[in-house]
Symmetry: C2
Subunit: 337 residues, 2 copies
DNA sequence: ACCGATTGTCGAACCGGTTCGCGCAAAGTG
DNA sequence: CACTTTGCGCGAACCGGTTCGACAATCGGT
């Protein structure tokens, strides 16, 4: 079922059908209705590939995310879902591309073969060569996160520095003097993951300002690593009474480690960090945390990208978000011990 | 940068370049190398839309999943990631489509505009009209889950009936006589979600066989619903000493409810169910559960679909999986109270 | 030296849309 | 009534690939 068939049945030329579909030229009421009726009867929809070829746009955006090798966190997954829905609302489809795999074939295909009009990048690194690849083929992109030089880029990011600082201040205000920081895995920190770096930076800075004793740890993205990490924390410094974490996947393990060490949360030990709200509420006690606004970020990223696609020369824009800490049940005053 | 440009620079015709790329006709060593050199220098990759138009295949598969309105569970998200990776390994891209939204525009586009060669359906219902839509446009599909008449379909599914039965037997073997079943939300059950129906069926059957007292509940897909559900369970029948759940998202809430009711797991109360392994390990105590093999299922679904695409007339195949229950720490002998 | 088979390359048509310029007929103007 | 304007629809060209039939050059055999 193609446009030629529609034209034939309606007794008009292919171009006229096209103009009815696009509305880019006026068509008389009579022929329009005649054509429309045929279209409706046959349930005709124009072929996406042909249309993409003809007008140079695929109406598809690429979502570049890290491979599952290192488990997905709930946060990443929330992003994916929300980006897809925001895009669907604007009549864009979303093509998923796991990047960071062996040869990155999928990512290269996405770009080189022009399967997409633009891309949204997740899990940003401070120096992110994916931008270079995108620039070199002239594909617009929007990042979820900031590189080291965010001034003139398109992105929507979380102010991990401020968020980590806020967590330290919150704990210091409660009287905690010895605080640990549980970061993402070391391999990601070394790779330059921006959240890991900026969070660490904020934590370190605020800890120094408040004069609290601090140690920082890297921790694998899973429960058992979290448990092991917590054991190390208490082994290294038994006087630790609180921790801040960016590592959502390890959270369950951290809690378990605390329970096994006989530390009651929040009476003996406070836990806080940066976590998607929905996941913060699944643990007991519910986590006091800066809730990652995944839905808003997904929507904003799509909005920015679509704007950029529609106005190729528009000046760069971005959104830096710093959601407040939601007080729940995992933090409390430092024990008077 | 198109194939004509390559041809011009190499001093050959477009068709010869095409044959070098596809290898569908022999090309002499000399010209092949000449062409290949130009291609490499310019980093040329053929345009995906043009190729799709010409040979009628997009090399893309659609992944149809439910919208996030009712939160994603970890299991669904694991599927998505694993499907994308399995597809990438076979040089297929994955287009995401949230179905079940207002007018399902995205799903319709996927099919009607032939953006994909085939589709993988998640969150199956016993009567799933998405199959009819797919059939009507002649797109092959593979389901993750089974309809009411799975005999001659293509799918990879979990034997929720057997799994729920196994959970009941496990608990009954431990001496539990009063067991609750926590299902997915009522709205999903009414919509005919197959996991909810088959799980319920298996639970009910096994409970009857073993002569245990049972009640079944529907529960929202979030922690607070889980907590509320547990309160109802203990209110309805304080003698309940165990539960089986299919509702991963509610798990944290169920645990919290138990803690607040003063029931210690597993000493006073046993919990088990069907959950993705990774999530079963984040709760404390770690959940004894039938681990959903998300990775294997994602891979199998892609394998089946690709096979179906390559051999359109191949007879239907499917895989019914029934992973064993992984013994962890959330179940124990019924109290002698 | 001639003929048939083989090998390698080319040109043209096609996939299914979009878009531009043109021609024709009806309507508007003096 | 001749002359421009306007409104509609058509045909052709194009987007960037793939594929088929034709043809020239080379090869082996008698």
């Amino acid at each position: 079922m193609n446009i030629g068939e529609i034209a034939k049945r309606a007794g008009v030329s292919r171009s006229t059908v096209s103009y009815v579909l696009s509305g880019k030229r006026p068509v008389s009421d009579g022929t329009r209705q005649k054509i429309q009726r045929v279209i409706d009867e046959l349930g005709y929809q124009p072929n996406a590939s042909a249309r993409a070829l003809a007008n140079g746009r695929t109406n598809t955006i690429g979502l570049v995310f890290p491979p599952a090798g290192n488990h997905y966190t709930g946060m990443q997954l929330d992003f994916i879902g929300n980006v897809v829905e925001a895009a669907a609302a604007k009549d864009y489809d979303v093509l998923l591309s796991p990047s960071g795999m062996d040869s990155d074939r999928s990512f290269q295909r996405l770009l080189g073969e022009r399967r997409v009009d633009g891309a949204i990048l997740m899990e940003l690194r401070l120096q992110d060569d994916r931008f270079d690849h995108l620039d070199s083929v002239g594909l617009p992109a929007v990042a979820i996160g900031r590189t080291a030089h965010p001034e003139n880029g398109w992105w929507v990011g979380l102010d991990h520095t401020a968020l980590a600082e806020a967590c330290v201040h919150h704990l210091a205000d409660l009287g905690h003097r010895t605080i640990a920081f549980v970061n993402r895995p070391e391999q990601l920190l070394r790779a330059g993951y921006e959240s890991a770096h900026r969070g660490l930076e904020g934590f370190t800075k605020a800890a120094a300002e408040r004069g609290v004793t601090s140690r920082t740890y890297c921790c694998g993205d899973d429960a058992s690593s979290g448990q092991a990490c917590l054991e190390r924390i208490l082994h290294d410094e038994p006087a630790t009474t609180a921790l801040v974490t960016l590592n959502e996947a390890a959270l369950g393990g951290l809690y378990r480690g605390l329970a096994q060490a006989g530390r009651h949360v929040p009476r003996d030990f406070s836990v806080t960090g940066v976590v998607a709200g929905r996941w913060a509420e699944t643990v007991t006690p519910q986590l006091t945390a800066a809730d990652v606004p995944a839905e808003q970020m997904g929507r904003l990223a799509v909005d920015l990208l679509v704007e950029r696609l529609d106005h190729p020369e528009a000046p760069a824009r971005h959104h830096l978000l710093a959601p407040p800490i939601s007080l729940r049940a995992s933090t409390g005053p430092a024990g008077t011990g």
